[in-house]
Amino acid sequence: MNLFTERSIWTMVHGIILGGGVMAAFTVALYCMWSVRAADGPSPVVHRQCRFLGRTLLVLAVALWLVVLIGTYVNFAPYRAAAPEGADLSQYPKSFIQSNESTDWLHSFGMELKEHLPWMAAMLVTAVAFVALRYNERLIGEHRLRGLMAAVLLVSFSLSGVVALLGIFINKVAPLT
């Protein structure tokens, strides 16, 4: 097996580099949200944290959109390509997964979720990033706004985490090579 085919490299960019970066950025953003909340009041440190939060969320939103777009427009077509009669199914991930009862759920459940949930997460994260950048240091005194931001961010994080895990399972069983 050639590990570094074009398809394999795009899968690694999508899943490991960008997907892993997204999960790390989520963690950083959630910590930043908490540290602004936990501050004793306006101070130069909290002002810097607010600016850092805005930039982190912007990077997170851009990375998440790249994950979604690469996943949809680069990786998805080769994944779902129909296998010709008598072909080696290992080269056709969707057909390979569906050929076995024990792995069929990876497509009928896993990939169906992966098709739609990341788009939802990306839209939600974009909203949070916009609010952080627009309100910036004014977030310090707005606990209800921060609460709503944190809640939406947690929802996005959960959606992204679920699809990331499903992606690992799918790639383990039927990698794009």
Binding site: F76, P78, H116, L117, M120, V131, R134, E142, R144, L148
Partner: protein
Amino acid sequence: MSQQETSLSVTNGAAAAAFLAAAIGVFSLGLITLAGEFGWFSAPELVKGVGGLSGRSTMAVAIWLIAWAVLHRQWRDRQLSWRTLTIASFGLIGLGVVFALPPVWHLLGA
């Protein structure tokens, strides 16, 4: 309200528009997906090989961005009810996610 009070206050309208528009986008994608599963509406394949996902996602993103532009224009200098905003946003998000779950399709008879 005096000018000084107005200049110190932070209206939540811009934030409300962003969150509610994103929630509308999420709900749209869920509803379009559900409609496809029931055969009520089939999104076009805009990119060869990607299937209906290219049409569904493009439609949802378009709805999201249009909603955001309209709501932001209407609400950017207004203060809206936190309670209404929270309930509306999370209600739409919840429904959108639920509509995208395959077990829900089977439960509803798709």
